[in-house]
């Protein structure tokens, strides 16, 4: 079976590793606001927050974008990719979250450009340099998944996994929780992520960018949190 495992899937694993230095360890996407208000304080409440974050925010932004971009790559429609880069940025109204995501996208892009020679990546970098594009990790991740020949649904699923595994580990530090509790959350989320991927595949393009009022507010309010361990 080991040989049946697609080597390229393993290559994409590298980008999911929480040690992959994109700076994800310094962003909580509003979770820190909930922790400070004591709304998230243990494994159960963390799972609840993550569930809403994945199902209500992530699927409609990064997740749906990843699907649309994968299709655009198949069709060679680069303009669509640049359009999504802008939409992902301008729908993200909380400044800290937007700028944090942009910074991560930029770091990830520079890093994978050293690992892979993909023309679209160089074009993306050039556009960011010219201030025509912003940079977003979901876009970089999808370009690599597509480049490696990994299936669309797998690319989306792994992207979601990379986001929640970093978030769970950040929560372990911030709440704080035991390492085991953190791993239990990640394990429990396997089903949730599969469901979320199915949801992304069935969404209408019109569903892009739907916000969750409470989550968005927590991300805006984080800008006013004085004592903090995360940048967003």
């Amino acid at each position: 079976m080991a040989t049946a495992m697609n080597n390229n899937t393993l290559s994409l694993f590298q980008l999911c590793d929480t040690n992959f230095p994109t700076g994800a360890f310094s962003h909580s996407y509003g979770l820190e606001s909930y922790i400070q208000e004591d709304q998230v304080h243990d494994q159960v409440t963390l799972s609840k927050w993550l569930h809403v974050y994945v199902h209500e925010q992530l699927v409609h932004s990064d997740g749906l974008a990843s699907r649309i971009i994968f299709d655009a790559l198949e069709e060679g429609d680069l303009d669509k990719i640049w359009k999504l880069d802008r939409m992902l940025t301008v729908q993200n109204l909380p400044r800290e979250t937007r700028e944090g995501t942009q910074k991560m996208g930029d770091r990830m892009l520079n890093l994978v450009s050293s690992l892979y020679d993909v023309p679209i990546l160089s074009q993306y970098r050039e556009r960011i340099k010219q201030k025509q594009s912003f940079g977003h990790p979901a876009i970089v991740f999808t370009i690599i998944g597509h480049h490696l020949g990994v299936a669309r649904s797998t690319t989306i699923l792994y992207y979601l996994y990379s986001v929640i595994s970093s978030l769970a580990q950040n929560a372990v530090r911030a709440i704080p929780l035991g390492q085991t509790a953190g791993q239990l959350v990640i394990q429990q989320f396997q089903g949730v992520l599969t469901e979320a991927t199915d949801k992304i595949l069935s969404l209408d393009e019109e569903d892009f960018g739907i916000i969750s009022p409470g989550l968005e507010m927590s991300q805006m309010r984080h800008e006013r949190v004085h004592i903090r361990i995360f940048m967003s």
């Binding site: 809403v52 301008v90 909380p94 969750s212 009022p213 409470g214």
Partner: protein, 274 residues
């Protein structure tokens, strides 16, 4: 589909320091009254009326507002927008706003009230030239039902797109769907019943203004919760979660005053409605 329930076209320009209508046209269940000049600034105020009293199943409304260079306009509704039950087709409203350089539009809408089983979608597209200023506010209530149950509507969807020189600079998508979402839960309305939004886009928007707004409305109460942030372009978004229209209106009015002071050194007029 061309069969609109109500159409409104309003184009305004500046003439000798006064904003006047260049073209006004309305048809069906949309109407505007003659402009009111609240003070001697020349800024015109138009009230939009919905003679039908509410939006019904399958109703479709279209509004096009255009301001020429230097025109200054307040646009507001006469009363709350009520969406009645829509058994077959959601009610729909699309608005297109075009703002030329130096113009200023403040579009202050009354609360949106979704009745039991109502579905409503609105799309607002704002096309600005560099140097134009736009201010918008809305309030989404928990709706109305004979039993007094909150969130008995089925869908309220509000999409707002703002472009500057044809480049998308803000995209806001609110889709409240009580049939599939747990409205009170964490991440959604979090125990509050009303959601207010205010957006301002204009070159004078600064981080100092954001701080000033925050200082003026930061809460020391559980009556409401506010979130403010700076947009990808010079502009600010203010979200408010609260339990009444009045609370949100009070906060939005405070912000409106501060913004007008900061931008134009003027004070907004009280909008008389009842």
């Amino acid at each position: 589909m061309k069969d609109w329930t109500g159409i409104l076209r309003l184009e305004a320009e500046e003439r000798n320091g006064k904003t006047v209508a260049k073209n006004v046209y309305f048809q069906g269940a949309f109407k505007v009254m003659r402009p009111i000049y609240h003070d001697d600034s020349g800024q015109a105020c138009y009230y939009i009326l919905n003679p039908g009293g509410g939006y019904l199943d399958g109703d479709r409304y279209q509004m096009k507002i255009a301001l020429r260079e230097q025109a200054r306009l307040t646009l507001t509704t006469q009363s709350a927008t009520k969406i009645y039950k829509t058994p077959t087709n959601p009610a729909y409203q699309e608005t297109e706003i075009t703002l030329k350089k130096g113009s200023y539009l403040e579009y202050i809408t009354d609360p949106l009230i979704g009745y039991a089983r109502a579905r409503y979608k609105q799309k607002t597209v704002v096309k600005m030239e560099t140097g134009a200023t736009f201010l918008y506010s809305d309030i989404i209530t928990s709706g109305w039902s004979p039993e007094g149950a909150k969130f008995s509507y089925d869908l309220l969807q509000l999409i707002t797109e703002i472009y500057i020189e044809d480049e998308l600079v803000m995209y806001d998508h609110i889709k409240l769907n009580p049939t599939s979402q747990t409205m009170n839960s964490l991440g959604f309305m979090e125990g509050y019943s009303h959601l207010g939004s205010m957006v301002v886009v204009g070159e004078q928007a600064s981080h100092e203004l954001l701080d000033q707004l925050y200082q003026a409305i930061r809460e020391d109460t559980t009556e409401y919760k506010v979130g403010l942030s700076f947009l990808p372009v010079a502009g600010i978004i203010i979200r408010i979660l609260a339990n009444s229209t009045q609370t949100i209106e009070r906060i939005q009015t405070t912000c409106h005053h501060i913004i007008n002071q900061h931008f134009f050194n003027t004070t907004p007029s009280f909008l008389r409605k009842y």
